[in-house]
């Protein structure tokens, strides 16, 4: 069933179609919301709020953008409102030096195969919220620059800059903690997967 049919079914009162829509897009909403708010205990409530808004505004949805983009926009705005409400607004303005300080220290002799991906993932979670947002939307959800612009309201140049800077920050951090021996391990891992 495509998105247009799904929306029609929901608007005609078929609640099974709504369950289907939630199942289809819950991963997208969890990724965006989770990466932004970073609180597992609040995640369910916020995701619920997102889908409630989707349901209430479904009749206003026009096919000007993809349904996933529209839902992602709602998820993004709801999460940003949550962050503002709980006074995490300072996180919204990224500062690279502070972000670099935030990234945890990790000694290369502690470097182990199994820890690698978890380590980098943890470092991503420590990046400023805007960086995490564009990284999630671009790399994980594979939205285009235009779609990310539509979702977040950031200009395309800013999105590209955030992507570049996020990568540069992580590269800087990894440079200090991953030595040549570790890199061999990394190569092994990346070849394995």
């Amino acid at each position: 069933m495509n998105d247009a049919e799904l929306i029609n079914q929901i608007l005609n009162g078929n609640m099974n179609a709504f369950t289907f829509l939630v199942n289809r897009y819950q991963k997208l909403v969890v990724h965006i919301t989770g990466r932004l708010i970073q609180r597992q205990d609040e995640l369910e409530d916020i995701c619920q709020e997102v889908f409630m808004k989707v349901f209430q505004n479904l009749s206003k949805y026009r096919n000007e953008s993809k349904l996933s983009t529209w839902i992602a926009t709602i998820a993004y705005n709801t999460s940003i409102n949550y962050l503002r409400k709980f006074k995490k607004g300072d996180e919204v303005n990224p500062d690279d030096s502070a972000a670099l300080r935030n990234l945890t220290d990790y000694r290369s002799d502690e470097f182990e195969k199994a820890d690698l991906h978890r380590y980098i993932r943890d470092q991503i979670e420590l990046l400023p919220v805007q960086y995490r947002t564009v990284l999630t939307l671009f790399h994980l959800e594979e939205f285009s620059y235009q779609e990310i612009e539509q979702i977040t309201g950031m200009p395309e140049g800013t999105i590209k800059s955030y992507l570049f800077r996020a990568k540069a920050l992580l590269r800087e951090k990894l440079k200090f903690v991953v030595d040549e021996d570790s890199l061999k391990l990394v190569k092994e891992i990346t070849n394995e997967k």
């Binding site: 989770g34 597992q40 980098i120 993932r121 991953v178």
Partner: protein, 125 residues
């Protein structure tokens, strides 16, 4: 260390899903909640509509009767205004019974039945 190699590792890590999870029955629970909310809205709308229709009928009937038997209508109004407190109490009680029947009981029943369904499911699994 080469930047390209690091970039490759980082790019790969970007594709790794974050560890946030929702309960397995999230969609079902949410749908039940939406159904409950919609039912509440519909019941409330129905109650307001019926109250409005009843009130309009009452006003129309008394207006019509005013032309047929003016003295009787005036007598009724005089009775009502001289017994304002009991009249308001009776209207309030009747309205409350009507509201309970049309909205509150339905809401409580739907909550109770969805709660039983959830419990039944968790007991089953």
């Amino acid at each position: 260390m080469k930047n390209e190699e690091l970039d490759r590792i980082i790019e790969k890590s970007f594709k790794v899903e974050p560890g946030f999870k929702l309960p397995v029955d999230f969609a079902q629970k949410l749908t039940m909640k939406v159904i409950g909310r919609e039912q509440w809205k519909t019941d409330l709308r129905e109650y307001l509509l019926l109250s409005g229709v009843l009130l309009s009928l009452l006003l129309a009937a008394s207006g019509f009767y005013y032309f047929v038997d003016k003295a009787f209508v005036l007598k009724v109004f005089a009775f009502l205004s001289s017994n304002l407190v009991p009249v308001i109490s009776v209207v309030f009680i009747l309205n409350f019974i009507f509201f309970t029947d049309k909205v509150i009981l339905r809401y409580l029943f739907s909550r109770w039945s969805s709660g039983t369904k959830q419990k039944g499911k968790s007991a089953f699994f």
